[in-house]
């Protein structure tokens, strides 16, 4: 008894056979919807994947106290301008300000997209390859100012700090590196890098005296963005850049205070490029965030267009079949049966669409990987995309199907 009931559930109530036969008689319409769904899925899934990739990239922390830090440059232009004296005076002044945590002179800033890099190698000699690393030239206040923590070794001491003149090419004998850099130089034992000697400029030795947890290089698009070294140096060049960390909530006040104080203290220089780290981050990732917004907009519009297309076509087919629907209702079909008919019809078309869509999605991804070196798509995006478009199709067709169900059986008796 039960068994028979179940069979009838499939054989009669779901009407897959008649739906298919009806669809075959109007192939073109169905194919068009299926294609639309397939292309929509292709674009949406690839777009979501790109969005995900970009937002992961944007989420990477720079390692510094982003919310409370800023920087500015001082460029001397008078003949008697003394960078070293001015820098020391400026730093003392800034460090003494209420609300400032600490300040340093630095040659480059994380995420600012402009900086200095050198290669470090574990064996001396031009024949060995170096590992590229960003260089930040700083003094003993750097760890506190940049908000980075030592995982091994010790900070620079005031006596370690050397003066670097323009076009100088020898280096101090101490260096602090990031853990990422340590792991790259000594893949077996990153922390064991402490106390080891590495070589800069092929042959010049430097001793690793400290390892810090995390700090990004200035170039966010660089694959090895966490390869960073700190060298104990103060630069004697026309341009002196200051990096300042403030107490929470004090940054904006300190920014204007520092600018006016420095401007007053020495008129033989200009101050330029004062920028908060928050703004620096926005600029660094502007292309990525723009891409994300554009892709989101495209996706939303696309899904709406496809959805409305399905609504339009379904409404039409309901209108066309008014008389048949009335007849079916008169012959005893329930309202649910009518709704189910249209929903199922859409499900069949969508299935063809999403299967085709899955293939196109992979195809487009292969093209993107090939031409623009994106990463290949993660597999589960495909079934999720299929599911999403099934849902869109069902939601879109529900309205017209409901309308169809409301067609009165009496319509069958009227002439068209």
């Amino acid at each position: 008894m039960n068994e028979q009931k179940e069979r009838s559930f499939f054989a009669e109530n779901w009407e897959v056979g008649p739906i298919l036969r009806a669809l075959l008689r109007n192939k073109v319409g169905a194919i068009l919807i299926a294609l639309q769904i397939a292309f929509t899925m292709t674009i949406v899934v690839n777009a979501i994947y790109i969005i995900h990739e970009r937002s992961e990239k944007m989420k990477r922390p720079s390692g510094i106290d982003e919310a409370n830090s800023f920087y500015l440059s001082s460029v001397g232009f008078t003949n008697d301008f003394n960078t070293l004296v001015t820098t020391k005076k400026d730093l003392n002044l800034i460090r003494s300000l209420e609300g400032v945590v600490d300040a340093i002179q630095i040659n480059a800033v994380p995420m600012s997209n402009s900086g200095w890099s050198m290669g470090l190698q574990t064996q001396p000699g031009a024949e060995f390859d170096g590992t590229g690393s960003a260089v930040y030239m700083v003094d003993e206040h750097a760890l506190n100012t940049l908000d980075v923590a030592l995982v091994a070794g010790e900070n620079f001491r005031a006596t370690d700090i050397q003066t670097r003149v323009a076009s100088q090419n020898h280096w101090p004998d101490k260096v602090i590196i990031t853990l990422a850099m340590a792991n790259r130089l000594f893949p077996d034992d990153g922390l064991g890098a402490l106390g080891k000697t590495v070589y800069i400029n092929d042959i010049e030795p430097m001793i690793i005296t400290g390892i810090i947890d995390k700090l990004q290089a200035p170039w966010v698009g660089w694959d090895n963005v966490e390869n960073v070294m700190l060298t104990p140096e103060i630069r004697d060049a026309e341009t002196s850049r200051y990096f300042i960390r403030t107490k929470p909530g004090q940054r904006d006040r300190i920014m204007s205070e520092v600018e006016s104080l420095l401007a007053k203290s020495n008129t033989g220089r200009i101050l330029r490029d004062m920028r908060s780290i928050d703004e620096t981050r926005v600029r660094a990732y502007r292309d990525n965030s723009a891409m994300i917004r554009i892709l989101v907009t495209v996706m939303v519009i696309l899904v709406i267009v496809t959805g409305l297309g399905i609504v339009g076509l379904a409404s039409f087919s309901v209108n066309q079949r008014k008389k048949q629907i009335g007849t079916r209702r008169a012959l005893g079909a329930s309202q649910q049966a009518i709704v189910r008919y249209f929903m199922l019809e859409n499900l069949l078309i969508s299935t063809v669409g999403v299967v085709l869509g899955a293939m196109l999605t992979v195809g487009l991804n292969i093209v993107l990987v090939d031409a623009f070196s994106l990463d290949p798509i993660t597999w589960y995006y495909i079934p999720l995309g299929m599911l999403a478009l099934w849902v869109v199709g069902q939601l879109a067709v529900y309205g017209p199907a409901k309308k169809a169900a409301n067609i009165p059986p009496a319509l069958a008796t009227r002439s068209a």
């Binding site: 073109v28 319409g29 068009l32 919807i33 294609l35 639309q36 292309f39 929509t40 292709t42 674009i43 690839n46 777009a47 790109i50 460029v75 232009f77 008078t78 003949n79 031009a126 024949e127 390859d129 003149v165 323009a166 076009s167 100088q168 090419n169 020898h170 400029n201 092929d202 060049a237 026309e238 200009i270 330029r272 502007r286 292309d287 965030s289 723009a290 891409m291 917004r293 554009i294 892709l295 495209v298 519009i301 696309l302 267009v305 496809t306 409305l308 297309g309 339009g312 076509l313 039409f316 087919s317 209108n319 066309q320 487009l364 093209v367 993107l368 031409a371 623009f372 068209a416």
Partner: protein, 438 residues
């Protein structure tokens, strides 16, 4: 007849306002998205100097590290030159235009006490720079070869710099203090913004040109700082500025103007000979790998069209396809509802051609309306792009006449594509079949 068809089309729109609106909106969105991205790509891949881009060649010689190439795959020579090459190649003067270049920067101290000193970028170049790159002048001229050789303290100002320092008046002959030294203004440029900034794409291919232009050898004379990109495979031998100039560090660019293929071959031979001579002096440890690329080849090599712009363009084309599929489906549905009417018209004597014309007018009207709206959407899209990307794309998000023509063609093509099949189907309805069921 055409007017009558137009009237019929409007009646048909009125009968199905929502469906018609949907079709127009779909075409408009597809065209809008495509045109926005095509415009950005078109401007990024534009020829910045069409009249002579095939005669200007960027000079590359492989002076890099014997152990690792500048680029390993493919093995391309470095993208810039050392000071030694820049000056040697310039000194081996051939009878065509040539300029080595570098980017630098310095503080300008205006005489006018109301204007604060400010930092300005400098392009160091040879006198040929201006005629070679068709640089427009508002006042005065560039310097001459003698100024190059004598390292004269002359300067050409960009229009913006002249506006800022001299209030836009003719400043030729006046003095201006740069880098703490007094320079004589010899020319002022007119507005000049080559897109891309082909002569040096190192710091962004769509950067503004420099604020100041001065003779190349002043780099050495005044020890002007290195701006742009500096790359070294070996650190300088010795300390100081001169040691840097003598080093294997690359920070300089060079362009030559060669009118014929023959000239190009001659110059390449000269380059190869030069490098072979240098090899005898113990330099250039890598195999001979010199290259002359013209402007568009160089732009291609440097990949000035952003990947994102291309990805967006291809995605927006697919978007347009979806919109067209959508329109075809809706159009088909609309016409199929009219099959009775069509059958009747056929029965009373309308030919297939008549019907074809009538429905082409109807679908064409939808396409044009969609195209026009799409153009508006593209303008909106470009405003959005400017807003999202800020100043870096400002000059790359404007519609010119070529793009407007492209938009109209694209919409016409799109509407014909979307209309042809439904129209053809509608015309092929047999006269009798539809009358029977009535």
């Amino acid at each position: 007849m055409f007017n009558y068809y137009l009237k019929l089309a409007f009646n048909s729109f009125k009968r199905n306002p929502i469906l018609t609106g949907l079709m127009i909106a779909a075409i408009a969105l597809g065209i809008g998205a495509s045109m926005t991205t095509i415009t950005v790509n078109y401007l990024m891949s534009g020829d910045p100097i069409p009249e002579k881009s095939s005669q200007l060649f960027h000079v590359q010689v492989d002076s890099w590290d014997p152990n690792t190439g500048f680029n390993d795959e493919p093995n391309t020579p470095p993208n810039q030159l050392t000071w030694t090459e820049a000056t040697n190649l310039m000194a081996a003067k051939k009878d065509f235009r040539q300029t080595a270049m570098a980017k630098s920067g310095a503080i300008i101290q205006p005489d006018n006490p109301d204007i604060n000193p400010f930092e300005a970028s400098i392009r160091l170049a040879f006198s040929d720079f201006f005629p070679m790159f068709s640089v427009p002048f508002q006042y005065g001229n560039g310097w001459d070869q003698k100024a190059d050789e004598d390292r004269q303290m002359v300067v050409v100002l960009s229009k913006e710099t002249n506006d800022k320092v001299f209030g836009g008046e003719n400043s030729v002959g006046k003095n201006i203090v740069i880098f703490g030294k007094s320079f004589r203004v010899i020319g002022v440029l007119d507005a000049w913004q080559p897109l891309p900034k082909f002569y040096d794409v190192n710091n962004g291919a769509f950067d503004d040109p420099e604020a100041l232009f001065m003779p190349f050898y002043l780099k050495q004379e005044l020890e002007l700082p290195n701006w742009g990109n500096t790359n070294c495979w070996k650190s300088p031998e010795g300390e100081g500025f001169q040691a840097f100039l003598q080093s294997e560090c690359i920070n300089f660019q060079m362009w030559v103007e060669l009118e014929t293929e023959q000239d190009k071959q001659t110059y390449l031979t000269f380059l190869n000979n030069y490098v072979n001579d240098q090899k005898e002096l113990g330099r250039f440890p890598r195999p001979l790998n010199n290259r002359l690329l013209n402007v568009m080849q160089w732009m291609h090599d440097q990949e000035v069209v952003a990947d994102d712009a291309q990805i967006m363009m291809w995605l927006s084309f697919m978007f347009l396809v979806v919109c067209l599929l959508n329109t075809i489906g809706l159009q088909l549905a609309k016409f199929s509802a009219k099959s009775a009417e069509i059958g009747l018209r056929r029965a009373v004597g309308a030919t297939k051609q008549d019907l074809f014309l009538q429905y082409t007018v109807e679908t064409g009207a939808v396409g044009l309306a969609g195209g026009a709206m799409g153009l508006l959407l593209a303008l909106l899209g470009l405003v959005g792009i400017r807003h999202l990307y800020g100043d870096e794309l400002n000059d790359l998000a404007t519609l010119d006449s070529t793009m407007i023509a492209t938009a109209l063609l694209l919409s016409l093509f799109a509407s014909v594509c979307a209309g042809l099949y439904p129209t053809w189907r509608a015309c092929n309805i047999a006269p009798a079949s539809q009358l029977k069921s009535q």
